[in-house]
Amino acid sequence: MSETNRENVKNSGEDSQGSAQAPVPGVAKPSIPAAAHAKPAAAAARPAAKPAAPAEVLPEPRLNNGRGRLLGSARLWPTEVWPNPWARPSFVRGAYWLAGIVAGVLLLGWSVGEISVWANLAYDWAMNLLRLRQVPELWAQGAWSAVKVVVVFHLVALAPLFLVWWERKISAHMQSRLGPMYVGGFHGWAQTIADGIKLMLKEDVSPRAADAWIHLLAPIVAAAPAVLAFAPVYFGSGLTAADIDIGVLYIFAVSGMTVIGIVMAGWGSGNKFSLLGGLRAGAQLVSYELPRTFSVIPVILLVGSLNLTAINDFQSGYWLGFIPRWFIFYPVMGQIAFVIFLIASVAETNRIPFDIPEAESELVAGFHTEYSGMKFSLFFFAEYAYVFLSSALVATFFLGGGNAPLPFLRIWPSWLWFFAKTGLIAFCFLWFRWTFPRFRVDRLMDFNWKFLLPWSFANIAFGAVYLFL
């Protein structure tokens, strides 16, 4: 008896006689022993040998009243089988879109050139204008600083929007889903914006047990350093908001302040899940801060400066005319430092496989269990801003920042190379999340203190060897 028939037997309850006689086209009805009629339906419907299932005729789906984009073509339901992906129209269309986007970005980069050239023109024009109006020098400089800050701030604010959408698409495609598809039209590009508006309009619930002021201040303390840490980041030749000489130290110092916000959130919520999550986050973040700092020291040692522009410029040029002088290509030292820095950065952003502070299977949501609405979205914003920051730092420290991988590729400007490398590392961050299982909390600490930290010490010695060459 076929699968379909067994379903019918179950559906029709006790009436095993009637459903057993239900006609199945194309399949000869197997003979049922007479004794089987006396047995309950489920037992009677279990044959000794199963014949091949017939082709089922499913009803036409009428979801979304036929107006939905996804299920509009009801004939594609269930999924049609294609001989290869290229026979599938949507796959070919997607490939064209992707090629078009890449070509468009390359053309844009080639035609715009270095943005710093345009920025210098704008600076000269604005300064001349302000001098003609006899504006004091301090005010003029302040106005120009404000322009730079607003530009970088928008970049920092938009990057999480894009990263969240990208993560949802990546996770969906890794699990054979489509991810957001409706909002905005093209592959749900406006989904994160809609989510942000929704979070803004959500009611804010602050529990009675919470310490009201700490509960309120924690998201500010967590999110403000995430923006502030971008001040000395190198976005391309001449594109640094505040080109300070202690850039690396400043970034580590400021981004380390977020842990205070997270511990405040855990302590101030008055919830045991939050408390545990906050304490775990504190222990984890301060622990991984150490190998993260020590793994960059060989880079600083060889460059002799903490300035990110200097680190970038040091990596320009090529060995033998084609191997870029990026730090990742320095034998032994470069690879160890790169791997340690990448792992520690993933841990610093509280992401899987290091998301012990917000492990949803044991701690509900960790330190932000009691947060809702805009306060929650500030924590969310901080996490993705740090993903962007860490990717940018990996690109600057180890992948040559704005330097082209091959000499003839220098026709594209440095900012385009910088964003390409940052995007590559950000993709790795999102990829890890959907690939690795979570660490257990004791292994997490062991991995840091007994593996990463000793190796990052040893790596300083490996880096010092290069000073003698």
Binding site: S145, A157, A242, L290, T293, L378, I460
Partner: protein, 119 residues
């Protein structure tokens, strides 16, 4: 260099202002439907028992202490890394290796004493 630090000041104002402004914006826009049940502590549906102001495990304190020690060491290493190229390399590197060896011995001591055991 002065302009860079001016930019940093503006950055500080903007970053704190952004966080505060987004909270104020949400405060103006959001609905308010207070309910005593909503304000209870989330504990998977059951009533929360006891307070969270409890004695927490000692190991968090040990980790924090180790962090302070090694982070201060990092602050000694960074100025060395910045200026090592400008000095007598052999002497400077040898000295730092001694320092790192002491640091590593400290880590080994903490390891043997069981400060890194987590459970």
């Amino acid at each position: 260099m002065f302009e860079a630090y001016l930019t940093l000041m503006v950055f500080g104002v903007v970053s704190v202002g952004f966080a505060v402004a987004s909270l104020i914006g949400a405060w103006l826009l959001r609905p308010r439907v207070p309910d005593p049940i909503k304000a209870t502590t989330y504990e998977c549906g059951v009533e929360a028992v006891g307070s969270t102001e409890i004695k927490t495990n000692f190991r968090f304190y040990v980790v924090a202490l180790l962090f302070v020690i090694f982070d201060v060491e990092a602050l000694f290493v960074i100025p060395w890394a910045v200026s090592a190229k400008t000095m007598d390399i052999g002497f400077v590197v040898g000295e730092m290796m001694v320092f790192l060896a002491v640091l590593f011995a400290g880590l080994m001591y903490a390891w043997k004493k069981g400060a890194l055991v987590w459970d």
